[in-house]
Symmetry: C2
């Protein structure tokens, strides 16, 4: 870790001199995860698997908290967040402000996990921060956190260092990123992940309509993703739109209806614009 | 291979009695690939690597043919297709009819490789067929053909068997599929591959606009694809649209312009319709 300490040091009782001391501090630091959804669950799991014992997982959904608690041996509460040095809020964007106001302690770091919120959303006199894991989380799908990029931001340099050290315990790809950068990362992720998944869902509907097993398309999907690791996506484009093949485009337009047709048209227009066809 | 022979047998001089005989025939059969683009190149390569010697690669682009010929040790011609038992036409859809008319021989199979053309497009008195590899082909990217699904169709059962045997020499996933099925496969592939790649290209533009390395998104993209191998794409959906998070959607709409905004709106509307939001 190469972040120099140039801001005030706020750790209660700790004296942060160097990375080693910081690492020791990370292990002693009391951390509470707030939330019981996919992001909270995978964070709890990643910390547990990295030997970082969490003080508590706190939230409203007792069934979900109880399940996390039982699986990962972390105390939970639905009534009050435990005393801690760091609170990581992993709830839906709309609840972050309200949840953050429940933390009455001042001498602590509070970080949210959203790509689309500034740290200023946090309502309290504590030191505000952000801890943004760039990944798609589904509860039913195990996840290797070590390759998940994590972006950290803090009001104070020492806190940035603490969050960086902590993030580096679970991931090999940790960087600092401000709100403006996070916002663009999030939009990029929406295109490269959320919309891509929706295309898979719509593609599957089309295949299902003719009883074509969607598994046939797995090698194609794998190759589509493998390709862009060695070629620019713009260079890797194939298909009727980039060939300007009006016959095929019309053939497809005759078959498609509803949302399929709307997506078909807007994507093809966008492809044609990109390649000036 | 489990396709029974119930049609007339047309092989000149050969007597096809069973799969073993057929396999021997495959090795002796004279095959010409027509075309010099990505599909032609990867087919030539897959056949060569599977020990099937091709009689010729035929086309118009001498530079491309010469390169294929040199790399894979296959004779080439730009003037006349060699005498053969099977011609596989791997040219752009718009050229298939014209190219197919150049084959004057009758006692042979002629197959095109298009997902969007019926075998009836082929202009000649030979036995018409189709040999459709479901994959995205880029010349600069090596490809493992063994997992590429290949769909075959023929006027005669014996030819279907021959094409199936041949396809099975290069791929472990060979099925019969008529034009109607191929058409839907192709549209599915356009959504699951061509449009997905275009989303990557547009996503990269957004990341580039803020100097965010696109490599940050690789784990996210990998996970998006891995997820749908164990979850239905519809179940795996994440992101602001499926959460009906209007604040984030508006935040993004304020930033995006042009094609990015058009794609953003149509995809989110489609997601909301799918989940009845």
């Amino acid at each position: 870790m190469n972040i120099s300490i140039f801001g005030p040091i706020h750790y209660s009782g700790s004296c942060l001199k160097n990375a080693a001391a910081n690492n020791t501090y990370i292990c002693k630091m009391k951390t509470v995860i707030i939330g019981s959804g996919n992001v909270a669950y995978h964070l709890c799991r990643a910390f547990s698997e990295s030997g970082i014992s969490l003080t508590q997982v706190f939230g409203r959904n007792e069934a979900a908290l109880s399940a996390i608690s039982t699986e990962l041996k972390i105390p939970y509460s639905v009534t009050e967040p435990a005393d801690a040095d760091l609170y990581i809020i992993a709830v839906s964007d709309t609840s972050v402000a309200e949840v953050s106001a429940q933390i009455k302690k001042n001498d602590c770091i509070v970080a949210h996990t959203s790509g689309s919120l500034p740290k200023e959303i946090l309502q309290g006199d504590y030191r505000r921060a952000s801890f943004y894991p760039l990944q798609t989380f589904s509860k039913d799908k195990p996840l290797d956190y070590s390759s998940v990029p994590i972006f950290v931001e803090a009001e104070h340099a020492a806190d940035l260092e603490t969050l960086t050290s902590l993030a580096e315990r679970i991931s090999g790809r940790v960087s600092a990123a401000d709100f403006e950068t996070r916002k663009y990362m999030h939009i990029t992720a929406v295109f490269a992940c959320n919309f891509v998944n929706h295309l898979f869902a719509r593609a599957k509907e089309i295949a299902d309509s003719r009883q074509i097993p969607f598994a046939y398309f797995e090698p194609l999907i794998d190759e589509t993703v493998e390709k862009i690791k060695t070629l620019e996506p713009k260079t890797a484009q194939t298909g009727p739109a980039v060939r300007n093949d009006e016959r095929v485009l019309n053939l497809h337009r005759e078959i498609l209806t509803g949302e399929h047709l709307k997506i078909y048209n807007v994507m093809n227009e966008s492809i044609k614009k990109m390649y000036e066809l």
